[in-house]
């Protein structure tokens, strides 16, 4: 592979470094001080994502049967994988919270559910863009499409419930309970292509995909995983700050002199 094919990644790395330096200078830190570990992970993920998305969307050969249209799979498949992985982690964190009672797991549930919803919506939109040229329609009442929409709604319901409960302990427990319930819809989504006659492709396995395509999918998935980790940790920090503010004692009343 020629050196020029690494150019997008190199440019992205250069821009990322510039962004870090600019952020450091704006905050009054030394120019070359390292950002937090999650931001480092996220920046690495973004750089890799730019590089591997360039390869997938522009530099890779067209697919044997679908031609240029299949390039969207380099976006759609990793996003779908990460959406379900994120929701699976939401379920694990919810179980951990119910078993241990520790608040950190509740905040992680909030973060992973929210990031998972964003990824699930992206999955749906990209899937519709893929469906139009391949199936002729943006939407069909196919098992995979419908179950993905239902899964997204189920987890949106979890966040909606969280918004109306004011007691922190009740909110944490109820969020964990409903997140575990919503995970059943994720399982249905994943298995939908096997349980029903679906026009969506079966779950991709290494045996069903050619070597170069498989490697590029994995590379994009790893890059997106790094970005997802960064997003979850950032969202966790925001949830933690809000929780701290909620727990803070009220300000003393001003005395009129």
């Amino acid at each position: 592979m020629d050196t020029a094919s690494w150019l997008p990644g190199a440019i992205a790395a250069f821009l990322a470094a510039g962004a870090v330096i600019a952020a450091n200078l704006r905050s009054g830190r030394p120019a070359l001080s390292l950002p937090t570990w999650d931001r480092l992970v996220g920046l690495l993920g973004l750089v890799l994502l730019v590089q591997f998305q360039y390869r997938g969307l522009f530099a890779s050969p067209p697919e044997r049967m679908m031609g240029e249209v299949a390039r969207i799979m380099y976006v759609h498949v990793p996003v779908a994988w990460l959406a379900m992985l994120t929701f699976a982690f939401a379920c694990l964190f919810a179980l951990a919270h119910l078993l241990s009672g520790r608040g950190v797991f509740d905040l992680l549930v909030e973060a992973t559910v929210e990031v998972g919803i964003v990824l699930a919506i992206l999955t749906q939109i990209e899937g519709m863009l893929f469906a139009r040229p391949t199936w002729g329609v943006y939407w069909t009442w196919d098992a995979r499409l419908v179950s993905t929409a239902v899964m997204t709604l189920a987890f949106m319901g979890v966040l909606s419930l969280r918004g109306v409960v004011s007691d922190p302990e009740k909110r944490a427990t109820w969020t964990s309970v409903t997140a575990i319930l919503a995970t059943s819809s994720m399982v249905v989504t994943y298995m939908s292509v096997q349980w029903w006659r679906s026009i969506h492709q079966m779950q991709s396995t290494p045996e069903t995909v050619s070597g170069p395509m498989k490697e590029l999918w994995r590379a994009n998935a790893v890059a997106l995983l790094l970005v997802t980790i960064w997003l979850v940790v950032e969202r966790y920090r925001l949830a933690e700050a809000r929780a701290r503010e909620e727990r803070a004692p009220p300000l003393p009343e001003a005395e009129v002199t």
Binding site: S147, L153, M156, E169, W174, S184, V188
Partner: protein
Amino acid sequence: MSWLSQIGPVVGKELLIEWRDRSRISGLFVFSAALLLMIAFAVPKVSLLADVAGGAVWLGLLLASTRSLDQSFRVEMENGSLEGMVLWPVDPLAIYYGKAIANAVVLFLVATAIVPLVLVLYHPTVRGNVGTLFGILTLGVGALAAPGTLVAALTVQARGASALLPVLLFPLVVPVVLAAARATTLVFEGDPMGDLPRWIALLAAFNAVHWSIDGLLFTRIVDEG
């Protein structure tokens, strides 16, 4: 007294409350009947009604269940009797299973009123086995009652969250409505491809999962409540 032996008295209490205030269950019948009429008005051709009869049964039951499930906990919250039961002590598992069984019984009674109404109004021909239809109704109402009881216990406790009951419940029970509606339609229209056992298996699996797990989740809600 183990929690299993406490389930019966809880079911009895729930059904006694329903019997004493029969306006609630009759309200569910009227609601379902009105809904069947609305669906008929929304369908553009009368000849299509027989095709949608199976789905209309379960749409009616689903929407009736939201009212029934909310009512089953609201009466507890208004009188503080849920806390009273927990302090008695009644095992939270017994409370959950008692309420879920009672909710399933109420929904089954509503179903026994909806199905004849659908047969009269929508004119589907029942080619299948009536016993199979009763089996589908039993599995379907059970599959609605199990997660519905858990979700209703959550939403009734949070102020302003009653509107969230359908938001939380409907995505969860999509497999139930799908399987039950398809299975009911196959009983009405006949099953030349032999798909009925798969839909019944899905209903049975849903029941198995939710009747086993949701009770454990309910104990955490009541403990925190």
